[in-house]
């Protein structure tokens, strides 16, 4: 069942969004978004994650209607919206600096989208009250935005984007201006609001923790291209290319050349001659250059059993972190190799300069595309 813009019943279903071959250039020379295809089902919390300048905001603005797509089509509930002006799209939006109207009280800010839709006075008050309660700001209706703290302003912005019961809400780095603690708290609150209302949320951030915490799916952007679109866990566990492996979480890189392939595995010779087995993810044939990607917590320190990959490493630096010890090692010519060693009482004291054996499973070592 499709809902019109004017339909103001509480939303129990989100809208679907589809980008089809969307391209965007501002100056006619550089493509800021290169052939974007993205299908967002109703009710999903999708995050666009990527470094600054990767085109996330541009994608969001095209969906909101503030930037025209240079090529391609965007669908909202299977309806093409390229020629629908922003105010007719019925999309709620939270801006990075909140964009609360400074000359209106909080309640007036919330009533604004209802007023422009000619909602009756009584219903307006009812909805404003409900929205304020949803973000736990019931008593703040008469304040001016400037009289609120950053976190409270943020909540008002969220409430305002939701008060007219949109099926789709866009958020562009909404928590960027908050300090760490408040940001984490707001992440959970926004997540819960999403779960309760069932709206579709498209969320933009450059903070990977935020993306992993909140999202159903994450689209990792780089250079105007979606590098990987998957759930947070598979983004971490199964990065599809070096960029994603680098961008999400901590990661050890070893570069080398494929010298043998068998099924899902491949044999890689590192630049110093060490040979390792790896999960074949993003390499094609023997002779390809590759970057092996390995999570620090998956490396076994002085393995008891013999492992599929075993190398010697020299300890360069030890950082004591309580529950674990962070060990920087020099492994196969890479002296930025990090290993997280669990802090178990029985372990002997480690010394810098020591050479120790380390090992890991084939599955934890991904052979990805080579980085320059």
């Amino acid at each position: 069942m499709k809902k019109g813009v004017g339909d103001l019943m509480p939303s129990n279903r989100g809208a679907s969004v589809r980008y089809e071959n969307v391209q965007k250039s501002y100056d006619g020379e550089i493509l800021v978004v290169k052939n974007l295809n993205l299908d967002i089902p109703p009710g999903e919390f999708l995050t666009m994650l990527g470094p600054s300048g990767s085109g996330k905001t541009t994608c969001l603005m095209m969906l909101a209607g503030f930037e025209p797509a240079t090529h391609g089509e965007i669908f909202l509930n299977d309806r093409p919206i390229n020629n629908v002006p922003p105010h007719k799209r019925g999309i709620g939006m939270v801006f990075q600096n909140y964009a609360l109207f400074p000359h209106m009280s909080v309640a007036e800010n919330l009533a604004f989208p209802l007023q422009v839709r000619n909602v009756g006075k009584a219903e307006q008050e009812e909805k404003v009250k409900r929205a304020l309660e949803m973000v736990e700001l019931g008593d703040f209706g008469n304040r001016r935005p400037a009289q609120l703290s950053g976190g409270q302003q943020q909540r008002v912005a969220v409430a305002r984007a939701l008060v007219f019961d949109p099926e789709l809400v866009l958020m562009d780095e909404p928590l960027g201006a908050l300090d760490k603690q408040l940001r984490e708290q707001m992440q959970y609150e926004i997540k819960h609001i999403h779960e309760n209302l069932g709206v579709t949320v498209v969320y933009v951030t450059h903070d990977q923790t935020e993306a992993l915490t909140m999202s159903d799916r994450v689209a990792v952007f780089n250079d105007g291209v979606i590098q990987q679109l998957s759930t947070p866990d598979s983004l971490y566990e199964d990065p599809q290319n070096s960029f994603v492996a680098q961008f999400i979480g901590e990661n050890n890189k070893l570069s080398g050349k494929v010298i043998g392939v068998s099924g899902n595995e491949c044999l890689v010779e590192l630049d110093d001659g060490t040979q390792l087995k790896a999960d074949k993810v993003n390499v094609n044939a023997v002779g390809d250059r590759t970057t092996l990607s390995l999570r620090p917590e998956r490396v076994e320190f002085e393995p008891a059993s013999s492992m599929e990959n075993l190398v010697q490493g020299r300890i360069e630096e030890l950082i004591y972190l309580g529950d674990h010890i962070r060990v920087r090692m020099s492994v196969a010519g890479n002296d930025e190799f990090i290993v997280k060693v669990r802090n178990r009482g029985e372990r002997r004291k480690l010394e810098t300069g020591e050479t120790v054996p380390i090992g890991w499973a084939i599955n934890d070592c991904k052979a990805l595309d080579a980085v320059a």
Partner: protein, 420 residues
């Protein structure tokens, strides 16, 4: 150790009390600040505060009568101006004595011109009498004065003299408001002599008209400039400021060329057939001319504060409004416009204040129907030399502006004014 230390007065190393040392250090700071602002302070006092104070004083000051005719003023105290009779011999005797002195000092002509502002003819009366008074050595003086000029036998001459004998007078202010004090008390001057209230009213109305037209023309320009990328808007801003590069006189004269009946605009309108040659528009030497020329001259003062305020309004507000369902117009009117009000406030105040005291342009293009109160003030300062009246008019203008400011503060709020 520490206990005794807290009981003692805290001192610096050399044994002076800490408080005194601190005060001394701060005093030096303050003195330094004072020295730095002293030149400006003195300049402002000399060139701004002092002239204004002097102006306020001149508008009520009137010691010339008592200084020139001390005995007469004294003798007149017993005379009742409403009696309808000319004062008696003692007053004339005092007048003769005073005038003897005044003629020697040649101050009687100055008194004459001063009183002439109040009653025409007194100037010549004093000059004429001054020539004769040397021969008046013997009483009875009254007859000799009446023989010298029969005006001395008229009651209203004496009424004027008596009315303006105090050292301070409200006469200038009454004149400024087209009022006068007659034997029947305070009343308005006859219709055909009223001029200043009309001028004040016209100055206000024209200034408001100029402010409104500046706003109507300036707002869209400032809006456009604020939307454009900085490089383009800087370039266009130079065009806005371009008029400042040419002299005010040149610009005003240019309007004369454009607007006069044989001027460019009329020629063009006749040429395209919009008006006939016989019905050329009168656009200069009247209020239309004043409004057009002054709007042009004051426009930058509206655009600049508007622009600087609009520049600070983030475009995301309008975007937010649209994303919430507002049409372009609603987003502008309910979200953008209210945030630009401080700029309107600043621009309007600036233009209005400048307009209300403007002088050159109305003088050149205003004709008789388009001149301002300032033109009248200038006339009294440089032509009629009635400085007291000029001062009173100036004071009233100042008061009017202040009152408007207070009203404005009540309605708009002065903290709603932002100059940048």
């Amino acid at each position: 150790m520490s206990e005794t230390a807290t009981e003692q007065v805290l001192t610096t190393k050399d044994g002076r009390p800490l408080k005194a040392s601190l005060a001394r250090a701060l005093r030096r700071e303050k003195l330094r600040a004072l020295v730095l602002i002293a030149p400006l302070l003195i300049f402002v006092l000399l060139t701004f505060v002092a002239p204004i104070a002097d102006m306020l004083f001149r508008s009520v000051e009137n010691s010339i009568v008592e200084d020139t005719l001390p005995q007469t003023v004294n003798a007149l105290q017993d005379w009742d101006p409403s009696s309808g009779e000319v004062p008696g011999e003692p007053v004339f005797a005092a007048l003769a004595a005073d005038l003897q002195v005044a003629v020697d000092l040649k101050t009687h002509t100055r008194l004459g011109s001063r009183l002439n502002y109040e009653k025409t003819g007194i100037s010549s009366l004093f000059r004429k009498t001054g020539r004769r008074v040397k021969k008046m050595t013997e009483p009875p003086y009254k007859e000799q004065f009446l023989k010298a000029d029969k005006k001395w036998g008229q009651v209203d001459t004496w009424q004027t003299l008596k009315q303006f004998s105090p050292r301070y007078t409200d006469g200038y202010f009454l004149s400024s408001l087209d009022a006068e004090r007659t034997s029947e008390g305070l009343q308005m001057k006859p219709e055909d002599e009223q001029i200043y209230l009309l001028l004040f009213g016209r100055t206000m109305m024209l200034s408001i008209a100029i402010t409104v037209s500046c706003l109507l023309l300036g707002y869209p320009i400032a809006f456009l400039l604020a939307q454009l990328p900085l490089r383009t808007s800087n370039l266009l801003m130079i065009l806005v400021l371009l008029p400042f590069w040419t002299s005010l006189l040149v610009r005003t004269s240019a309007w004369k060329v454009l607007l006069q009946q044989q001027g460019v605009i009329n020629d063009f309108l006749v040429w395209i057939g919009l008006i006939s040659d016989a019905n050329r528009l009168v656009m200069i030497n009247n209020q239309t001319g004043t409004i057009i020329a002054m709007t042009h001259i004051l426009l930058p003062f509206m655009i600049l504060p508007l622009y600087s305020v609009m520049k600070t309004i983030s475009p995301t507000y309008v975007r937010a409004a649209k994303s919430l369902g507002a049409t372009d117009w609603t987003a502008f009117w309910r979200v953008y416009f209210p945030q630009s009000v401080p700029g309107i406030g600043a621009g309007a105040v600036l233009v209005f204040i400048l307009a209300i005291g403007y002088y050159i342009t109305p003088e050149l293009v205003g004709g008789t129907s388009g001149i301002f109160i300032s033109n009248r003030i200038a006339y009294h300062i440089s032509s009629s030399l009635n400085w007291g009246l000029a001062a009173a008019l100036g004071t009233l203008l100042l008061a009017a502006v202040m009152i408007l400011f207070i009203v404005y503060d009540k309605i708009v709020g002065i903290d709603n004014v932002k100059l940048g």
